[in-house]
């Protein structure tokens, strides 16, 4: 009797735990499904061609235009600024931490970087708008109050810790024997780091960079606060612009009724964004899995 009760408990526990694990798959598909379902009426109203190729985005004004391109330009410019800074900087910091400094120093240095990641993005937005922009305006005369430059730079700071920790993982997965072989041939730390560790972790670094880019694409509050909310096709970093994420925030702050075109448009924008980030993440994950397979022989 007792043992049967025990077996039932075991069985139920396993099912319950399995259900929790399945939830993560459920969420992934749930996200895509909900975005798709809510965006569908939007595409009944706006043709895919207009959505992708119209050069204006003004869904809330008349005449309404529904070209996502200006939002994508804003997203790309801020992401580009962020990653030009954060990707190389993150790799360098990671290389320094994993190949150069002794363990004792590392346990002190690493938390510094990690604490940067503790600052909420809305506070970084405050920082970009009210500290970085006024500071940069002293040196760059044409810089407007809302601009992509400070948004991009602060965005870079925000993804730096993320990039650094991903790159460090990539360096860690390089087998010790490779390093020792390099030292045995008389190479010093620098030559080993740049001649052996960096090239052999190339795929890991690429997947790290892709994940960092995807993070920058989806970051919201920094750009919503400090880049302004003006959709624009210009590439000038000194001007304001809207990003895909900032547009979603802008619409959400107004009280849009369920089912209006504005409501549908944020789902269309969100669908676009999630398709891009999902495929980037998927690609990066694939690269990582492949690398692990190769490392395990």
């Amino acid at each position: 009797m007792r043992s049967r009760f025990k077996r039932t408990v075991e069985f139920l526990a396993e099912r319950l735990l399995g259900l929790s694990a399945t939830l993560s798959v459920g969420i992934t598909f749930g996200i895509l499904f909900i975005l798709w379902r809510e965006a569908l009426p939007f595409f009944a109203h706006v043709s895919l061609r207009d959505f992708l190729f119209d050069s204006q985005w003004s869904p809330l004004f008349s005449p309404a235009h529904y070209g996502i391109f200006p939002l994508l330009v804003g997203t790309m410019v801020t992401t580009l600024i962020a990653c030009t800074f954060a990707v190389p900087a993150g790799i360098m910091v990671a290389l320094l931490l994993s190949e150069y400094v002794p363990d004792r120093v590392r346990t002190w240095l690493k938390p510094t970087i990690e604490l940067l990641a503790a600052v909420p993005s809305v506070v970084f937005g405050y920082f970009a708008l009210l500290v970085v922009t006024p500071f940069l305006q002293k040196f760059i005369p044409g810089l407007q109050g809302f601009n992509r430059l400070s948004a991009g730079l602060v965005l870079g700071l925000l993804i730096l810790p993320y990039m650094a920790s991903l790159a460090e993982d990539a360096f860690k997965s390089v087998p010790k024997s490779l390093r020792e072989a390099s030292y045995a041939l008389g190479a010093n730390r620098f030559t080993t780091a740049f001649g052996v560790v960096v090239p052999s972790s190339f795929s890991g670094l690429s997947s790290a960079a892709i994940l960092a880019i995807s993070r920058a694409l989806g970051e919201t509050m920094v750009v919503a606060i400090s880049a302004g909310m003006l959709p624009s096709l210009s590439l000038n970093p000194l001007e304001p612009s809207a990003t895909v994420t900032a547009y979603i925030v802008q619409v959400s702050m107004g009280d849009l009724p369920h089912g209006s075109i504005g409501y549908q448009s944020i789902f269309a924008a969100g669908l676009m964004l999630s398709l891009v980030t999902f495929s980037l993440n998927f690609f990066a994950h694939r690269m990582k899995l492949k690398r692990m397979e190769r490392a395990n022989g």
């Binding site: 075991e10 526990a13 319950l16 735990l17 399995g18 929790s20 694990a21 993560s24 798959v25 969420i27 992934t28 598909f29 749930g30 996200i31 909900i34 975005l35 379902r37 360098m92 910091v93 320094l96 150069y100 240095l109 938390p111 510094t112 990690e114 604490l115 940067l116 503790a118 600052v119 909420p120 993005s121 809305v122 506070v123 937005g125 405050y126 920082f127 009210l130 500290v131 730096l160 010093n188 730390r189 030559t191 694409l217 989806g218 970051e219 919201t220 509050m221 919503a224 994420t245 979603i248 925030v249 959400s252 369920h258 789902f267 999630s274 980030t277 993440n281 998927f282 994950h285 990582k288």
Partner: protein
């Protein structure tokens, strides 16, 4: 001795020096930024911090505005978030580490977990807007916010719990089995206690993340101006508790500070600085605790 160093080696030495200097410069710069940020928040925000700031509702007069509804909202939502995320997250981690064998399905879970950790937070907000707010009809409520954030932090809880479960050595597990423990007993009495501090670290990190998250709560319709509190859960007559507060509208600390930052007047920026100061202090302290815990548990168990 000098002649033994070839020009190539000399060049490598110079490059090495440049590299090390530049990397330390980046580290220094990011530290400097953190300090600058704190200095700015302290100089602008500290004068505004007072008991009145903590106990007043927002107002259109900057000097009378406070963060009462914001911090109460944050507290309710974060508690709800952890209430959902901790059991589900740990459950998923235990299943993935202890029960699941390598299969096609295991691979799918693995892939979607990797994916979820990289989904932009605002996308969770949109999903919650379509699903919790309209499909389930939960409205722009405290409950919706808690559920949304719990989905958001779920990958953090799962990943950290899995890592700490994995680091428990197999011989402990086998010893438990050898003494006749069932799988569930082994997990409850051996795996989980040893993985405890690692799991706790993950929980603290998700708490810090949930506290600072803004964008998904904006999309599900957090109010930026709210001059009342959720209803109290305790009432004088039977059954003495009620859950009406779950359905109340809400605001949170990050949204309040976003609102103040977006206003043109400098007085509101001071309020924003004061609110930021509180928020950053909380999240940095939480992360610091997590880091210290992690380092300590590494030293405590040397497998």
């Amino acid at each position: 001795m000098k002649a033994l160093i070839s020009p190539q080696q000399r060049r490598a030495k110079i490059y090495a020096r440049i590299f090390v200097t530049a990397s330390f410069a980046i580290l220094g710069l990011s530290f400097l930024v953190l300090i600058l940020l704190f200095a700015d928040l302290l100089t602008k925000g500290l004068p505004r911090l007072s008991m009145a700031f903590l106990t007043s509702f927002p107002s259109r007069f900057a000097d009378q505005a406070g963060i009462l509804s914001a911090w109460v909202g944050s507290l309710c939502i974060v508690i709800l978030c952890l209430l959902f995320a901790i059991p589900v997250g740990i459950g998923a981690a235990v299943y993935l580490e202890e029960y699941m064998n390598k299969s096609w399905y295991a691979n799918q879970i693995e892939i979607s977990l990797g994916n979820l950790a990289g989904v932009p937070s605002i996308i969770y907000g949109l999903m919650a807007l379509g699903f919790f707010v309209y499909q389930l009809g939960l409205g722009h409520s405290v409950l919706t916010a808690g559920l949304t954030l719990s989905l958001l932090v779920l990958p953090i809880v799962i990943v950290s719990a899995r890592e700490s479960l994995r680091s428990v050595p197999d011989n402990l597990k086998e010893a438990a089995y050898a003494l006749g423990a069932s799988k569930l007993q082994m997990i409850r009495h051996h795996q989980l206690p040893y993985a405890q501090s690692g799991i706790f670290t993950g929980v603290i990190l998700s708490l810090s993340r949930a506290l600072g998250e803004t964008a998904p709560l904006l999309t599900i319709g957090a109010l930026t101006f709210i001059a009342f509190l959720p209803q109290t859960p305790i009432q004088p007559d039977f059954p003495f508790v009620n859950f009406n507060w779950l359905m109340d509208p809400f605001t949170v600390l990050p949204i309040q500070l976003f609102n103040w930052t977006s206003r043109p007047q400098a007085e509101f920026h001071q309020n924003a600085a004061a609110a930021s100061l509180i928020l950053v202090t909380l999240t940095v302290l939480l992360n610091l605790t997590a880091i210290i815990l992690r380092n300590r548990s590494r030293r405590k168990y040397q497998w």
